[in-house]
């Protein structure tokens, strides 16, 4: 008798020259969760049929010109654009978020922190309308407060007022910098981001960009596990996708 067991999720973690968080993402996916995590060099044109794609943090191509400006033209970006257009789950954290905005996959841009300092700290974040992004936030509740590390010098989210209004009206702002009571205040905003925006999703809801690092909050030893809930959300979402489940059988 043959028993079919669903294979664990397979994620592609994209590596540009200067990326630095790829091994943390691969560690969480592989060692913590038992998933398959493949590092994909930026010159590749084939992602290897993943269930989800991760654009990790770092300094792709040295952040020269602008953060993400050169990475946007790396050969792998075509495959990522196609994967996202087909509805595949994509997450861009920190530098990955910057790459997604430069590529035009997400609106807006990320500029130098308003205080000009690099900020590395734990940060409280308010989750808003997570249903807009079921693949990455399905396990989280509207209004919930989570804690994730931030680590960036250029995280000030900007967009023109019309774009910001449209994002809010469509419920596509899914994470905001908040204080420990859950209030979005200037004092709690670590970089001067417009309207305290820490994370947004694309129109379809499958591409999440966020400045914080979920991969750095996935084990108790490092101070928190809230980041793991984004991975769990993905796993639950994949289990509900007939196509994904079939592929992984």
């Amino acid at each position: 008798m043959t028993t079919l067991v669903a294979a664990p999720p397979r994620i592609a973690v994209v590596v540009f020259p200067g990326t630095w968080s790829e091994r943390d993402f691969a560690h969480v996916a592989g060692a913590v969760l038992g998933w398959e995590a493949n590092l994909v060099w930026h010159t590749e044109t084939d992602l290897g049929h993943p269930d989800a794609v991760v654009l990790p943090g770092g300094f792709a191509h040295g952040d020269h010109l602008r953060t993400g400006a050169i990475a946007r033209f790396s050969p792998v970006m075509r495959a990522i654009t196609d994967f996202a257009a087909a509805g595949g789950p994509v997450i861009g954290s920190c530098n990955g978020f910057q790459v997604l905005t430069e590529a035009g996959i997400l609106p807006g841009a990320l500029l130098r922190n308003d205080h000009l300092e690099f900020r590395c700290d734990w940060q409280s974040l308010r989750v808003e309308r997570p249903a807009a992004c079921p693949a990455w936030l399905g396990d989280l509740a509207d209004g919930e407060l989570i804690r994730l590390p931030i680590s960036h010098g250029e995280g000030r989210y900007v967009a023109d007022a019309a774009t910001l209004d449209a994002l809010e009206a469509d419920g596509r702002v899914v994470l905001r910098y908040a204080d420990e009571g859950g209030e979005v205040t200037d004092a709690a905003n670590p970089n001067g981001s417009a309207r305290g925006i820490a994370g947004i999703v694309n129109e379809r809801g499958n591409v999440l960009g966020l400045m914080p690092h979920p991969e750095r909050a996935a084990e108790e030893e490092v101070g928190g596990t809230d980041g793991l809930r984004l991975f769990r959300s993905l796993q639950e979402w994949l289990n509900e996708q007939p196509a994904a489940a079939e592929r992984r059988l």
Binding site: L65, E102, G108, A109, L116, R156, V158
Partner: protein, 81 residues
Amino acid sequence: MLRPGIADPEGQTVASALRSLGYATVAEVRSGKLLRIGFEADDRDAAERAVADMCRRLLANPVMEVASWELTPQPAPAEAS
């Protein structure tokens, strides 16, 4: 150069430093990036088009930046024999 209206903390810091040096009339500093690009073009129009294209596709992000440029014609390099 950052678009007007987009906060430029680097420019503000430089402005503040200039004022503290005694340049009390400094009202504003906007920071930007200067690139010098050497390239060949058939004529001035072609060079204009090429630079405009470079700015649009890579050098400036229209979400937050505006680009301007000056062309300085140089003699064509001698053909290698």
